[in-house]
């Protein structure tokens, strides 16, 4: 039937109409050269088997549906958390188009970054001219307070030397001599997006703090959030620290950049860590990283070069937040106020209300290493049982840390930690050893479709559900959000399993 102007349908319903299903069938039968349906069915069933799992895990060269991106996105993400900062990617321009697109799709916010648009001639002669010209153009056109430079794999393979190129650009007059241009080499064939975050964070701190060391401490605490895409998290950290009366600097705070108000005017650089605060971070009392695997080089640099105490604290769940607050209190001598104790009590109350639906539930999780540790630790507190823990960009250190956490809990005994494995490996794991639910980013929806296992969306990117990134996942209040997402996903699934009238609806309970 042609469209009905009173009820115009788009792809969701349009292609269910008989004329379209006929069209598909006709195309398949006559022109596609398709395999017979029974053959497709046979292979489909086989991919769910242990035999397939073994073959799948035997692969050595091929990566299918990875759960990691490449370095420059992490570098851009770190840079965008500083006031007035324009990320400048030295290399071919397609990468930046992808990075901006990906971040915009996740946050549903603008994302500004430039590239030096290197092409064949730069591949032969190097990208120096591109940087000299690009620096001048982006400085004049977009009026940033800082330009943070990183590389693509192209610039890395041809061996562009950022430090020398930036000096040359300054000498050529593209930008003032004293204009801050921190940089990081971020080859896409080393590490992942979290490596890029670390490299750029170190580069920015190194640049901004040079010569800023004073004789006395400024008494502040530095907080490095890591590659954390929840805009509610930095706000929650600030709320907790403000409640304690702690003086702090968040190093890379993109929570306003990626969640700016709609006022009718476009601001290219909303919010961010003030550059003078970042410069003064060298004089802080201590630096607390909220993630370990996104900050190893940065922490090493701070402890060896700044001679400053560094700590990793992950304020997730009850225990994680307890430890965070206790450690901050020790570092600063400030007391933990009643306000936060009440928050804690409320989270504990909510957990005791809901734990029965979570206790003993088997789950799988994939994502970045710190995210996995934080979320898994919280779920263990409620008696959930991790089964498959898959970290595509995790290393042996992560594996050991994770295994220690699992060993310390009576609920962690059944879990296997998989590093350097992808989502097609996870598909085999979920088919052969199913779980009650799994946690991951939007790419997990393909696993959800194939395995029918309920999915909780936590991580980056979240493309197909709106506003999840706006909430906090850390602190006691963040704990409530995670609890909400997990328990209500399980209850939704239970409703789906008990919703056929007169058939399965015996347990279709009103009160859960």
């Amino acid at each position: 039937m042609p469209q009905n102007p009173d009820r115009i349908v788009d792809h969701v319903d349009l292609f269910k109409q008989p004329e379209y299903t006929e069209l598909f069938e006709n195309k398949r039968k006559n022109f596609e050269g398709a395999h017979p349906p029974e053959e497709v069915e046979r292979v489909s069933e086989w991919t769910k088997s242990w035999d397939y799992r073994e073959k799948n895990f035997a692969r050595e060269a091929l990566t299918i549906n990875p759960a990691k991106g490449c370095q420059p996105v992490g570098a851009m993400f770190a840079a965008l958390g500083f006031e007035g900062t324009l990320p400048f990617v030295q290399g071919s321009q397609g990468c930046v188009a992808y990075f901006r697109t990906h971040l915009s799709r996740h946050y549903k916010e603008p994302c500004s970054a430039v590239s030096s648009s290197m092409t064949e001639d730069a591949a032969v002669f190097g990208g120096l001219n591109n940087m000299i010209e690009g620096m001048q153009v982006s400085y004049q056109l977009y009026k940033p307070k800082m330009i943070a430079v990183c590389t693509t794999c192209m610039a890395e393979v041809i061996g562009d030397d950022l430090g020398a190129f930036i000096t040359n650009s300054k000498n050529a007059g593209s930008i003032p001599q004293d204009f801050p241009v921190p940089f990081a080499h971020t080859p896409s064939f080393v590490g992942s997006h979290i490596t890029g975050y670390d490299n750029m964070m170190k580069g920015i701190l190194l640049n901004l703090t040079e010569g800023k060391k004073t004789a006395t401490s400024n008494g502040k605490i530095n907080i490095i959030p890591g590659f954390d895409t929840y805009v509610g998290n930095n706000r929650e950290v600030k709320r907790m620290l403000n409640a304690m009366g702690v003086d702090y600097t968040i190093l890379s705070d993109s929570s306003d950049y990626f969640d700016s108000p709609n006022t009718g005017e476009f601001d290219m650089y909303p919010g961010g860590t003030k550059l003078e605060d970042a410069a003064d971070s060298i004089n802080a009392k201590a630096t607390v990283a909220l993630q370990a695997y996104t900050t190893p080089k940065t922490r090493e640099y701070i402890s060896t070069q700044w001679k400053q105490e560094t700590k990793v604290l992950r304020p997730f769940g009850v225990k994680g937040t307890d430890e965070f607050l206790t450690a901050i209190a020790e570092l600063t001598g400030k007391a933990i106020p009643e306000e936060l104790e009440i928050d804690r009590g409320r989270l504990v109350d909510a957990i005791t209300d809901s734990y029965a639906w979570i206790h003993g539930k088997k789950f799988a999780i994939y994502g970045d290493p710190d995210l996995i540790i934080s979320i898994t630790s919280f779920l263990l507190e409620m008696g959930a049982e991790p089964v498959h823990i898959l970290c595509n960009n995790g290393d042996e250190t992560f594996k050991k840390e994770m295994e220690a956490i699992l060993a310390a809990s009576p609920f962690g005994k059944e879990a296997t930690v998989w590093i350097q494995k992808d989502l097609w490996h996870l598909r085999s794991l979920l088919f052969t050893e199913p779980v009650d639910f799994f946690i991951g980013n939007s790419y997990g929806k393909y696993l959800w479709r194939d395995t029918k296992i309920p999915m909780v969306r936590i991580g980056y990117p979240l493309f197909d559900r709106h506003h999840l990134h706006r909430y906090a996942t850390l602190g006691y209040q963040g704990g409530l959000n995670i609890l909400n997402w997990v328990v209500n996903t399980l209850l939704d699934e239970m409703d789906r399993n008990t919703n056929i009238t007169g058939k399965t609806d015996i347990s279709f309970d009103l009160i859960r």
């Binding site: 349009l14 050269g33 292979v43 060269a61 091929l62 490449c70 970054a113 056109l141 192209m154 009718g264």
Partner: protein, 497 residues
């Protein structure tokens, strides 16, 4: 045709371009001024330079050759496996980004929304990736036995380190008896995704046409030819566009024997040259293969436009004119069948949309092809431009636009924002990277690369959705909520005082 008052507008817009260019350093200004112009009626060209390198340091919306080859042309071939060969990122950031709809069992006989990569590590850069690639193809054969073929989409490092992917492809193709197609679509090649389209087309010519020749010789083409066989090409089935188009072609009695490349299969790629006529929607991304088909097989081809009832009817008639009276009568029947629905759609939406203006900025064909669809709804296009057009695209554009339309080739984010601030269009129709900046300015926006997760927009079924979507964009009450009322009142009072 041109109202005399529009002459002033031409000058005014030329002045605007000059002003906007002032922000650039001199060298960049000189380069950019060649890409901006105001259309003057009766000129045979938009008068802008195109297909030239973007200036380093500007915010360009352009992608790269890999995006053009894997992302646009080859990626939608659903029963082949497309390897993003090189580091993990290119495939990851573009994974499932284009909504090329297909029917199939993903991971079994279809692979469209998957990401296959060689995930290059440092050692692959140092020692080369050819051995790894060979192994990858072996592993694909074990895990995905129903794949019909493989394409190797090169990322930047492949060309730089000098890997011989052609040799790997030839060997693997022979070993497995199916096409393994190497593509030199490294991102640093060319100035935009456009070269990627060309490279992708050339690979079809070089690696797929020989398969057709073989099939023809061996008599293994599995359909009986009919005088009504057409190939529908240059439609990537975004939100189902190609299906809405195919529907109309079949309704008029034509037989679509190949669909390139949205919802396409290797078999359709191979059988494409067996058609009698090639119908191309996105001229920019597939005109190269039309020329090859013409040269090698004497195949006629024509561009058509399935956006909006005016152009759809015209295109149906133009297509039918290539066939006999039966098809021509059928075309009239199809037009007659849909005319009442289209009239009802227009009756409903045109009064709500008439008099609005829009500025466009998209990729291959849409900066011109969607103009009549907007006009059908009474919306006037006041500015348009392409990310990666060539000179012939701008020539073709003159048929679509009015006097004084601002033309911007490879527009930078800065220029586009300034043009919008000055011309104050009611709607912006562009891509995701532009979307949120303009929405923050309080402007209704539609993504015209991806139809903003809606669609299809092609064909009659698609136009109804297009009309609905433009209405929901322009007439959403949300835009009037922007700005706190007390602040607005204060501004007003200040202005009055």
């Amino acid at each position: 045709m041109t109202p005399p008052e529009n002459q002033n507008l031409v000058d005014e817009n030329k002045e605007l371009i000059k002003e906007v260019l002032q922000a650039y350093p001199e060298k960049a200004r000189k380069k950019r001024e060649k890409h901006l112009n105001v259309h003057e009626e009766s000129k045979s060209d938009c008068g802008v330079k195109s297909n030239i390198k973007s200036i380093p340091g500007v915010m360009t919306a352009r992608g790269c050759a890999y995006a053009g080859s894997k992302g646009v042309v080859w990626g939608p071939i659903k029963d082949m496996i497309h390897i993003s060969h090189g580091p993990v990122g290119c495939g990851y950031w573009s994974w499932s980004g284009r909504r090329n709809y297909y029917v199939g069992i993903t991971g079994i006989n279809s692979f469209g929304t998957m990401h296959f990569t060689s995930d290059f590590q440092e050692r692959d850069i140092v020692f080369g990736g050819d051995k790894k690639l060979t192994k990858i193809i072996d592993e694909l054969e074990i895990l995905f036995p129903l794949n019909r073929g493989v394409s190797i989409q090169s990322e930047c490092p492949i060309g730089l380190i000098g890997d011989d992917i052609e040799a790997v492809a030839k060997k693997a193709s022979k070993q497995y008896g199916k096409p393994v197609v190497p593509l030199r679509c490294e991102g640093f090649r060319g100035v935009s995704q456009s070269l990627g389209h060309h490279i992708a087309n050339d690979a079809i010519r070089d690696w797929i046409f020989p398969e057709f020749d073989k099939a023809k010789k061996n008599n293994t083409i599995d359909f009986e030819p009919s005088p009504y066989d057409v190939a529908l090409i240059g439609d990537y089935n975004i939100g189902g566009d190609a299906w809405a188009s195919r529907m109309l072609l079949e309704e008029m009695g034509l037989r679509v024997v190949a669909q390139w490349s949205g919802d396409g299969t290797l078999n359709e790629l191979i059988q494409g040259p067996a058609a009698k006529l090639v119908l191309i929607h996105c001229y920019r991304s597939m005109n190269y293969i039309c020329r090859s088909l013409e040269e090698q097989y004497g195949m006629p081809w024509m561009e058509f436009n399935f956006f909006g009832p005016t152009k759809i009817a015209a295109s149906l008639r133009e297509i039918a004119a290539k066939f006999d009276s039966k098809i021509q009568e059928n075309a009239e029947k199809v037009i007659a069948k849909y005319t009442p629905v289209m009239n009802a759609v227009l009756e409903k939406y045109r009064p709500r949309l008439e008099g609005n203006t829009v500025m466009l900025y998209v990729g291959g064909l849409r900066p011109r092809h969607v103009v009549p669809a907007f006009e059908d709804l009474g919306i006037k296009v006041v500015g348009t431009g392409y990310e990666f057009a060539h000179n012939d695209d701008y020539k073709r554009t003159t048929h679509y636009i009015d006097n004084a339309t601002i033309i911007y080739d490879d527009v930078t984010a800065y220029e586009f924002e300034e043009f919008v601030k000055a011309k104050k269009p009611d709607l912006i129709a562009s891509g995701i990277k532009e979307k949120y900046a303009f929405q923050k300015m309080g402007l209704p926006f539609r993504q015209m690369h991806s139809w903003d997760y809606s669609g299809p927009y092609h064909g009659y079924d698609g136009f109804a959705i297009f009309a609905r979507d433009m209405d929901l964009a322009l007439n959403s009450p949300t835009w009037s909520l922007i700005g706190a009322p007390w602040k607005k009142a204060a501004t007003k009072a200040k202005a009055a005082a």
